[in-house]
């Protein structure tokens, strides 16, 4: 509750603006990364026209999206249609409020930080459903149904994997989780075989489930362009589409941030000696490592089918995550006492 106690009139707006700026810049960087990394993997050049190596291409695309007409087709449920992008965007926006940037520095260090992130991301499902339904387009509806089913299902293994970390750290505060992993990369949860080997399994499960949560290949069924045209955002254009786009890339980064905080030490440096590099750089460096990993996977793997998606979730990830949770708990009890 600390953030309410300080001078919220000052800190609230500043934090909001900074987060908005981070999300926007992140979208520009991630889109550029996605284009260049995929081009590099596919023997192409990618965007080359605007600026050196085409670095301004995404900026120009963003301007284009903002200037484009906001088309609202006939038969659309207007209030819901207009509201949906804001809900999706707002949810991904709010997740960043608990990012631990450095020791003791985070926009809001909630005691229930991890839980807060999980709770807030459930808004996305409702927003997706709102968008898909109100579009009055069957492809959108399919996308929405898939998206919601997927988000709800993969939240289970995701939460279970996160729980393992919470158990190990003894706190749901992201700051505490970070502090716990100090002292070099061998103490990071995702690599610390000596601390609790089952955390490594949780790391893997978390990463796979987070791919599904942020709708990335091979789990990008809600927007599977070769099947559902564009999924739930088929009917969107202009600024509203840009919001979905921003939210998607913000979610990618948020998944990366959460992964690095929970499993790779967050703002902790690689080695204690590298302390002089500021924490946010470490954090975002690790987060972008995960973003690039997501892009890499997208360019490598085909997409799963709906039934296979559910199979992977309920028959592979959930039992796996449960096993990691139980074994990790036992380890905690027995070995560490």
């Amino acid at each position: 509750m600390d953030f309410l106690m300080g001078n919220i009139w000052l800190w609230g707006p500043i934090t909001a603006v900074v987060i908005a700026a981070v999300i926007t810049v992140n979208a520009l960087v991630s889109v550029y990364l996605e284009r260049k990394v995929s081009a590099w993997m596919q023997n192409r050049l990618g965007p080359m026209e605007n600026g050196p190596q085409g670095i301004f291409q995404t900026l120009i695309d963003a301007v284009k999206l903002i200037l484009k007409e906001d088309i609202i087709a006939r038969g659309i449920d207007r209030p819901l249609f207009k509201m949906a992008p804001y809900i999706v965007f707002g949810a991904s926006f709010a997740v960043f409020a608990v990012t631990p940037l450095a020791e003791g520095v985070s926009p809001a260090d909630l005691d229930v930080g991890v839980f807060y992130v999980l709770a807030i991301s459930s808004f996305v499902a409702v927003g997706i459903m709102m968008a898909g339904w109100s579009s009055n387009n069957k492809w959108s509806l399919y996308g929405a149904l898939r998206g919601v089913a997927q988000a709800v299902s993969y939240e289970v293994p995701l939460s279970l994997a996160v729980l393992t970390v919470v158990m190990a750290a003894g706190s749901m505060s992201l700051q505490t989780v970070c502090v716990e992993q100090g002292g070099g990369f061998w103490n990071w949860n995702g690599l610390a075989l000596h601390k609790n080997p089952f955390l490594v399994g949780s790391f893997l499960i978390y990463f796979i489930a987070s791919l599904a949560e942020v709708n990335r290949t091979p789990f990008d069924l809600p927007e599977a362009e070769s099947e559902l045209v564009g999924g739930y955002h088929t009917e969107y254009s202009g600024m509203r589409f840009a919001l979905f786009f921003l939210a998607e890339y913000a979610n990618m980064l948020a998944a990366g941030i959460l992964a690095s905080v929970l499993f790779l030490g967050g703002w902790q440096p690689l080695l204690p000696a590298l302390d002089f590099v500021p924490g946010p750089l470490w954090l975002f460096g690790k987060a972008y490592f995960f973003v690039v990993l997501q892009i890499w996977i997208r360019m490598t793997l085909p997409r799963l089918r709906v039934d296979q998606l559910m199979y992977v979730c309920w028959k592979v990830l959930v039992p796996g995550a449960l096993a990691m949770l139980v074994l990790g708990g036992l380890w905690q009890l027995m070995i560490k006492g």
Binding site: P79, L80, V112, L118, A119, S122, W133, L141, V148, V152
Partner: protein, 167 residues
Amino acid sequence: MDIKTLLELMFGLLTVASAIWVAFTPKLLHAGFSLLFTFFGVAGLYVMLGADFLAAVQVLVYIGGILVLLLFGILLTTAMPTAELTVGGTRRGQGLALGMLLLGLLLLAVFRAGWPLSMNALPETTASDIGKGFMTTWLLPFEVASILLLGAMLGALHLARRAGEDQ
């Protein structure tokens, strides 16, 4: 104005306004999505009451679970997205009269009763207290609740299966 009071007012207004929409809108889908704001407003009020863990639970279970379930139910029980989904109200007048009566009674009770007020300092963190409570004082209800959830899950699975899938 105090920031806290302002937020309380805002959340309260959001809760009530969206709940009114839930109760009176003729469109089923709008009622469903309006419920999102009611739940969110209530979660905000929980935060104002110092129950941050409960607020997160509220969002996670009500919005992420129950609301999604309700919306899914709506979508699955209507064949086409274009169909006008009315909630089919009846006895609107009688209901309204009854509601007004009830509201009057409740408000009377709220304001006339002498509540033993005793403001306490907020605990440092509610999550660990609640967790400890579940494992000690309320262990039995906690276990009963988990069995109830398991039973509900199995029951729902059984009910939702198609007739031909019994084998």
